[in-house]
Symmetry: C2
Subunit: 205 residues, 2 copies
DNA sequence: GCACAAGAATGACACGCCGTCAATTTCTAT
DNA sequence: ATAGAAATTGACGGCGTGTCATTCTTGTGC
């Protein structure tokens, strides 16, 4: 019966479930972009699909949860990029630069007309989203590794990771306010600030 | 009639208006701290006073607006501290350090049991609040002055201000998660990062 | 003192959104 | 073909919001 031993799109049941969930996510993304998070209602979202209001709650518990799912998807797309940057970087400097470039590219994409509302009401980085937490952990791990290998000085890795994220958020936000946004300039600024900031601090042998 | 030529608390009318507004703000602060912003309702707030539900709307247009008024008050308290730091600093380094210390002290105070809910759902710095915007402008102005006087290298003052704010937010947040929060350690970390980050960049004559 | 106008407080009410649930439809397996 | 499981539907109860006609309070002119 199972044609493909471990594939997922089996019966019609499963297929429509996947399709419906996707439809809700797509509609939600558009509605959030148009109305903003606060003003958007669950009904607005479901009206963008051919489903009934009650059906929404078969897929998500609340408006909050769809938003998190969208943000989660974002973080999930971003993580492999970050990992790739780490594994292919020729140096710590190189890693930092490509990580910042990756993040800034990412938020520029998500800032498109159909993207999530990146405004002052919703912070870019939401540490309460599991996937986002994972991104933070990954950054922190990279920094700890760099410190252990002597590529970076021995500073508080937790604070440093937070500082990187803070810089990424705020400088990224400022970059988006400029037109056109210059990703390389912003990334160079951020990387330079951190790298110089670490110079002179004591290192591991 | 006016004993004090230019004082404000004149008739009973005016006095109760001021008192009611204050009562609402006090109750709101407590309710927000207890329930969090999302869960709190206007009714919860008004129940903390001896006023009727409709009266709330004589003073604020919405829950959002009371919150902003509270945050605004916070920023208004913070600004003179920042200015004092700038005017009394012996050097740029000194200014940065005292500014970070002031900010971290500030959020530690506001994180008390009856303080505003500082969590992941509400960013610390809300750039859409006029007073907060003023704080940002002030930071930026200080940095521009420092650059013009040759105390800081010639970098993008806007990005640098954003980076400072981002670092303050995220490192501050991380500091609050530790117990006990070490304000000086966090401030030293932040200051060191920025100062070293600026070393070596070209300066104004 | 008194009456009257302006201003503020009150709380009942209409509205809109949320999340649930019994009834119904759609799918799957035998 | 049919029974049973799973998903969908939309009407409904509950709740929070913001308004508004009414009532109460304050300030003013006589």
């Amino acid at each position: 019966m199972n044609e493909t031993a471990f594939a997922e799109p089996t019966g019609k049941r499963e297929r429509t479930k996947v399709a419906n969930r996707q439809a809700i996510l797509v509609a939600a993304r558009r509605v959030f972009a148009q109305l903003g998070y606060e003003a958007a209602t669950v009904r607005d979202i479901i009206r963008g699909t051919d489903l009934a209001s009650g059906t929404f709650y078969n897929y998500f518990r609340s408006k909050e949860e769809v938003f998190e799912a969208l943000a989660d998807d974002g973080a999930r797309r971003f993580r492999p990029i970050l990992r790739h940057a780490r594994e292919h970087a020729s140096s710590f400097d190189d890693y930092l630069l490509s990580a910042f470039v990756a993040y800034f590219r990412f938020i520029v994409e998500d800032h498109q007309p159909d993207g999530l509302p990146i405004d002052q009401r919703r912070p870019h980085v939401r540490m309460d989203i599991p996937e986002m937490m994972a991104v933070y952990q990954e950054v922190r791990q990279s920094l700890e590794d760099a410190i252990a290998h002597g590529d970076a000085p021995r500073v508080d890795a937790d604070y440093l990771a937070c500082a990187c994220i803070g810089i990424a958020q705020e400088v990224g936000s400022a970059m988006l306010r400029r037109s056109p946004p210059d990703i390389d300039a912003a990334a160079n600024f951020a990387t330079g600030l951190i790298l110089k900031g670490l110079e002179g601090a004591p290192r591991q042998g």
